[in-house]
Amino acid sequence: MKEQIRGFVYKTTFSAPEKINDDTLLFDEGIFDSMGLLNLISFLENDFSIKIADSELDATNFGSINAIASFLAMKLQTKEICAGLPAI
C-alpha cells in the first residue's frame, strides 16, 4: 500500500524518489499544490474504493506519505469492519 502511494507521488510530481522520503511534508514543501490534493483524492478513492469525507481533508491525514498510508489503512480497516456487519 505504501509503495503504491509512493509510486503515485513520484509519478504525479515528476520527482526523483531520492528527493521525497516518507516523512517529507508534501504540501508545506511545495511538492503538492491544490491540483496535487485533488489528484491524490481521486487516486485514493478510485484505486482503493474508499470515500473520503470533507472533514477528513486535513494535514494530519494527507501531509506526508506516512500520514496518507496511516489514513488509508484506517479507512480500509473501517471498510472491512463495515462490510462484515449485517445490513439494517
Partner: protein
C-alpha cells in the same frame, strides 16, 4: 527587512491619497504615451471596484477623451453590472461601447462544456432554469491544506445541492469559464488596436500576487495601474476619485457563474480588510504573534494564513511568468 514600526490595523491607510493618485497618474501617462507609444487606453469596465478605480485613474491621467470603456456582459452577468459600468463612464465623461460576448462564448462552447461537467456531478442540473457556482468552504484555511472546490447548484425552486469537485470536472469547469476572461481580453485588444490605444488591466495587488486572475485573460494587458494597491487602498482611492457610491458599496463578486458569488467565497477565504492586513504582515515580516494580537485571531490561524499565502504565491508563479524563452 525593515519594518515600518508596530503592527496596527491602520497601517494600510494611505496617508496622502492625493500624492499616490498623482504618482500613479504621472507614471501611467508616461507609460501609455511614451513607453507603449499609444494614443490612449481602453479599460474593460464591469461595475466592480477595481475596474472603476482603474477607469477613474486613467481618465485623470491620460484624459477622458483618450479613453474607451468597454462593457462586456454575457449570459451569466448580473444586469446591474452593465448599468453601474455605464454610470461610472458617464460620471467621468468616458465614451463606452457595449460588446455582448455571449455569442462568442457559444462559439467556444464555453457554456456547454462547463454544463456538461456540472451535470456529471449533479445530474439534475438544468442550465436553462438552475444556477451554479464553484467555491471553497470558509473553514478550509483551518485544514492546513490547499483548498478544494465545491460545486453548488441552486435549483429553480430554491433548493440547493453542493458536492466536492473531482479533479477532471474541476479542471473542465475552470477551463471553460476562463474562456470568458480570455474572450474579454480579445475584445479589449480589438478596440485597443483599432484605435492605437493600450489595454489598461484592472487587477489589484492581491489578484496579481495570489494568482487570482486568468493568464492571458484579465491578466492580459499593457499596463496595470492598481497592481500595487491593496484592496483597502483601492477603496480609499475610489472615494477620493468620486467613484459612485453604489459601486463602492457593492460586494466584490466574480460575476463569472450564474449564481451570485463573492470573491471571498470563490478564492480569498477572508474578508478583504483582514486579508489585506494579514498579507501586509506576512509580506513585511511581522510576527504571527503581533498580527494575531491586532486582529483578534489565534496565533495558529495567522500561521496557517501565512503558510497559505506562501503556498499561493509559489503555486501561482507560472501565471505571472512571461513565456520561457531562454532555450
Amino acid at each position: 527587512m525593515e519594518k515600518p514600526g508596530k503592527f496596527s490595523g491602520d497601517l494600510l491607510q494611505l496617508k496622502d491619497v492625493n500624492l499616490v493618485v498623482a504618482n500613479i497618474c504621472s507614471k501611467l501617462k508616461d507609460d501609455v504615451f511614451h513607453t507603449l507609444r499609444c494614443q490612449g487606453g481602453v479599460v474593460g469596465i464591469s461595475g466592480g471596484i477595481d475596474s472603476s478605480v482603474t477607469l477613474a485613474l486613467a481618465a485623470k491621467s491620460i484624459g477622458a477623451q483618450n479613453l474607451l470603456g468597454v462593457i462586456m456582459p454575457e449570459r451569466d452577468s448580473n444586469p446591474e453590472s452593465r448599468i453601474l459600468a455605464q454610470k461610472l463612464a458617464d460620471k467621468f465623461g468616458v465614451k463606452t461601447v457595449v460588446e455582448d460576448i455571449s455569442l462568442a462564448l457559444d462559439g467556444f462552447q464555453c457554456y456547454s462544456r462547463r454544463d456538461e461537467a456540472v451535470k456529471r456531478i449533479i445530474p439534475g442540473y438544468n442550465p436553462g432554469t438552475d444556477k451554479m457556482k464553484i467555491g471553497i468552504r470558509a473553514d478550509s484555511i483551518e485544514k492546513d491544506l490547499p483548498p478544494v472546490f465545491y460545486l453548488t447548484v441552486i435549483f429553480s425552486g430554491g433548493t440547493r445541492e453542493s458536492k466536492r469537485l473531482p479533479v477532471n470536472e474541476y479542471l473542465q469547469i475552470v477551463a471553460a469559464s476562463n474562456l470568458k476572461q480570455r474572450s474579454r481580453m480579445s475584445m479589449l485588444y480589438y478596440h485597443a488596436e483599432s484605435l492605437h490605444y493600450a489595454v489598461l488591466g484592472t487587477p489589484n495587488k492581491h489578484e496579481v500576487e495570489q494568482g487570482f486572475f486568468v493568464k492571458y485573460g484579465d491578466g492580459g494587458a499593457d499596463a496595470m495601474p492598481i497592481a500595487g494597491l491593496y484592496k483597502t487602498q483601492v477603496y480609499q482611492l475610489a472615494r477620493f476619485l468620486g467613484v459612485p457610491d453604489e459601486i463602492i458599496g457593492r460586494t466584490p463578486t466574480t460575476d463569472t457563474y450564474s449564481a451570485e458569488q463573492s470573491q471571498e467565497e470563490f478564492f480569498y477565504q477572508l474578508p478583504f480588510e483582514e486579508m489585506d492586513l494579514l498579507w501586509y504582515g506576512w509580506e513585511n515580516g511581522y510576527s504571527s504573534e503581533a498580527v494575531a494580537k491586532e486582529l483578534g485571531y489565534t496565533e495558529d490561524l495567522v500561521v496557517k494564513n501565512y503558510k497559505n499565502f506562501e503556498r499561493k504565491r509559489k503555486t501561482t508563479e507560472y501565471l505571472r511568468m512571461a513565456p520561457i524563452r531562454d532555450y
